[in-house]
Every structure is written in structure tokens, then in C-alpha cells.
Symmetry: C2
Amino acid sequence: MKTPTSASPYIDDTPPGTIRVSVAEATKIGERALKKIGFSQEDAGIILGQLIDNALCGYPFTSLPRILAIANDPKTKAPRRPVRAVHETPVSAMLDGGNNVGYVAVYKAAEVAIEKAKANGFSIVGVHDSYYSGRNAYFVEKIVNAGFVTLHSACGQPHVVPPGGTRPALGTNPICIGFPSAKGPFILDMGTAALQWGEVQLHARIDAPLPDGVGVDRNGMPTRDAKEALLGGVLPFGGHKGFGLSLAMQTMGLLAGAARPNGNVQDYGFLFITFAPDLLMPGDQFAEQVARLMEAVKATPRKAGVDEIRIPSERAFRERERRRREGIVLQKKVVDALNAL
Amino acid sequence: MKTPTSASPYIDDTPPGTIRVSVAEATKIGERALKKIGFSQEDAGIILGQLIDNALCGYPFTSLPRILAIANDPKTKAPRRPVRAVHETPVSAMLDGGNNVGYVAVYKAAEVAIEKAKANGFSIVGVHDSYYSGRNAYFVEKIVNAGFVTLHSACGQPHVVPPGGTRPALGTNPICIGFPSAKGPFILDMGTAALQWGEVQLHARIDAPLPDGVGVDRNGMPTRDAKEALLGGVLPFGGHKGFGLSLAMQTMGLLAGAARPNGNVQDYGFLFITFAPDLLMPGDQFAEQVARLMEAVKATPRKAGVDEIRIPSERAFRERERRRREGIVLQKKVVDALNAL
């Protein structure tokens, strides 16, 4: 099996052991599986909205296979309550996620963020007592398509070892920022860890070595053995700066109520800070300028052999156009496992 | 002369060629110089507020020596107008910086950010037609001390070469995020370039080699020669992720009106997104949790030989306490040059 990499994790054709299905077929497979493990029709629809989009955007490992991970998570088996606001103002809400999976709870937080920003030009919405929210750009694109700029932070339980440390202290804590643009959204979606935790798990499962400078073992010593890294942790990306960003995202999570469920300040929290560009300048003028900035950066003279200066999210959106026509590639093993649920 | 590094640029004692002065003495030297090059008493006071704080926090190169850089900047010699709002709502303002140096214009933007956030719990304030704002943490600490969380972005003219490119396309574009905490502010202040541009200039001036992986020459090829890098540029920190963050900060700058003065989308813009924690939870409870998070991260077990897991801004604030008692160390050459203005 090919080593997955975060740069280009998608499977380009239909190799042995995979099948190509339409969006409708993939949705049907996923819906049946999610309902089988206890999700309502509504929740299954919300979860699949993202899982299918992830596959279309070229991230097959964060698509239908995640249903198997959700099925195995002890939190999925624990009782859940409807998502509800525990504190609310016209421009803000802290939501109790009610132990709903992040795909659902964070989706609902994004909806509240849009609704409040539509009414007031600004909103800040957090959600806690949730887990596993998937691909942040999915939520952020929704908010950007409603006309807003948004900053979305997520944080979780410790997997990231601070510089100089031997044990994890921070989540892999992504930061995601989205802007409307005249030529389609500009979305930056990046983990602050050197590698996503799901990728470490995947490397361990398929026995693939980790890239250099990513993993540490239980004594904080560098390792390329993914199984050792599962017992240790991963480093932040970019040294002290990545550590600082990760810590800032963990702090944002506190504003989302991360510590409410268990008093634990190193736990899950998801925050959206959203505002209308027209608080500062006409929205269409801003969108036009963003498009011009992207063009200017893409027009940077390139080194020999470099085809293109690539803007974050550009490849994913191009993939999506293509895969909408050509269909989604799934691993047969995954489909069989989903059908066996 | 010692090679400056961004990790610990301060001079620990009073080596030959330096003098130790009190805050009052340093202020007097700076005030005279700033008034001599055309600043009002009020503006000189604002500028020195930061320059002295930078020295106290252990950043001597961003302290009084900057007055020499300001004096030599063609923008300082060009006419300036008072900072004024070109668009304003109760929660937002886009300010025309009137070609005032950033030390002044961004300070005034921070004041507006505080005032509007006090009235409404939230504010978004940008300023353009300005340059050179110095140390972002200075402004952010002011806002945090007023009880708010703030995200401050700054962007400028191109010095940073995108991955795969041969010419600069983005500014060194810092991101600064500040949170109140029960044990003093937590402030992350980081450039998205591998090295600040001012440090490249300094390395060139004193003929010190750049660290590896920082500079590129005018053909985009790696170089450790700072003079070559001045003609080329620097790389983003942390590869594609740092590039993405830099691009996001440049986009934030558009919201601050970066393109207004000259229609240039790759120019200076400074933005503050500010809000009260109590939009989500009681402010003192949040500050308490931030302090607990910092303690938990600092308590991470450490590798042999590592004294401490250091939190961003921690060292600077400790330095400040010490230097308030012990005074500021200045280079005699700098003092002579200031007195000769």
C-alpha cells in the first residue's frame, strides 16, 4: 500500500481493492451504516454532508472510513443529549455539545455563527463536550459562502509534545481561516502538529514509517516508528512557533467551554469568530481585492521545475469539481466493513 | 560582535561599547531625537512608550536604535496627516493612518479597538497608510490589560518568497494573539517569516551569517549571506503552513485597507479583532482557566538538560521586571548617533 502523505493523500485512479461510486451511492452506504450505529436520519445527513465533501476534495481517509472510527469510539456508545446553548447573547453562544460527535455539534455551531453574524455583522460561537469534528475547512467554507470572514479553532486532548518535553501537553489543534473572494473562497486549514493524529494512527495500522521530525516515543526521543509515536506523541510543526500557535488554539478552546465537562483545561473545544467584511469596507470590493492578491501571489516567478505556486484550498476545490463528474473511490474493505455494521 | 538571534537577543551585562541607563534617561535621549526629526511631544511620547518597553522586555534592537531607522525612512520625511476614520460603525473602524509611522498609527488603532470593545463587547479596527509598527505584543498587551482577547495581524510589502518561488510575494506578516490570564497576560507574537526582515538587515550590517533555511538570493536559491538575502528574500517559517498563515495575514491586511493608498494588494495593513471573554463565560473564570492551562503545560515532564517548558511572552515579562530595577543597556554608538540627529 502507498504511504499516505498529508500533501496529497488521495488515490488518483481505481487501483485493485477499490471501487468507484457516485455521490448518491456513497451517501446510501454511509447513511445505512450511520443509522445502524444509532444516528438519526438528520444527524446521518449532517455527518455525510461532510464525509462526502471530504472524499470529493481528495481526502479519502477522512471520508467514509471515519464512520468505522466513530463506531468504535466509546463516546459514540455513551448517551448523548441535544446540542443546546448554556450561555447566549445576540452576538455569541457557548453551546454544550451534549456528547454529540463534532461532525454534528460543530456543524450546529457553524449554523448559529452564521445566523448571529447575519443579524449583527459579528458572532462568536463555541461548542464543547464533543469530539472528532473532521475537516475544519468544511464548516468554514459554509460560513464564507454566507459572506463572512471566519476564524475557526479546534483543540483536543494531548497528543503534541512541547519543545523540550517528553509527554504530550496539547492537542493537534488546527487553525482554519476563511475569506470570501471574487474567485471562490480562500481557506487556510492547517494543523499545528507536524502530522495529524489520524495519520499517525493510519501509519501505525499499515506499518509505514513516519516522516522525519514528526514523532517522538514515550521518552520524548525522535522516532519514525508510528507505533512508538502512538505511545509518545507528535511534535508541533515549525518548532516553537507551532507550539505557540497550538497553545493559543488550546486557549481559544477554553472560551468554547473545553473545561466544562470534566474540569480539564486540556480537552476538546471548538470556536468560531465570524464577521462581515462590510464592517470595514464594501464586501464585493474586499472579495475583489482578495482575488487580486491570490493572482499576484500565484504570478510569483517560479523555480525551474515548479509548475505552480499553490494557494491553500485551491487543489481541494479543483479536485472536487473533477470528482463530482468522475465519482468517489472507496476501498472495498471499508465498504465491506461498513455494510457489516 | 555577538551574532543576534531571535531567541535571546538581549545583552545580559554591560559589555564594552555599551552604557546602562535608567528608563527616565533613555526616555530623555529618545524624546530629544524624535522631536529633532519632526515628531510632536505627543507622538514622541507614544513612540517611546513602546521603544522603552521593548528594551525592558529584552529586545534592544527594536528599542532606541529604531529611531535611527525611522529618521532614515523616506516615509518619515513625507508629509503626514492626523489618523482619521474613513469608515466607522459602533463596533468597527477603518482608519487612514495618514502616513504616520506605525508606532503611532497602530497605537491609535489599539485605543479605538479598546474603546469600541468596552462599549459593545467586540470591535474590529484596521489601519493603513502607515509603516513600521514595531513589536505587536506591545499593542496587544494594552488591549489584554483592558480585559479583552485580541488577534492582531500586520502585513507589509513583499520580503517573503513562497515555496517554489524565486521572488518575494508577501510581507513578514506577524500574527499576535493575546489572552487575559489570572497570572498575567498570555501573548503569542510571532512572525510568519523564518526571520524578521530587521534581523536580516542587522545580519547584513554586521556581516553575520544567517541561520540555515532562512534566506534566499535573487534567484530563489538558499543563501546564508545576509547581503544576498537583502536582494532576494526570506522563506516563510514551517514550509507551506507558514506560507499559508502569511497569506492569511496579508488578506487580513486588505480588511484594514492595505490597498487604499496605492491600489497595491501587497502593502501595509494592521488589523485588531477584539472581544470580551464574557460573551462566552465569566471573564474571571476564563482568566483562571488560562492560568491553569499554562501551569499544566509548564508541568510537562522534561528532557534531561531542559530547565523549563517556556510559554510565549513569559521570558519577556520576566526580563521587564528585572530591567525595571536594573536599567536598560544601550550601545554608545547608538546614543551618539541619536544625540547627533
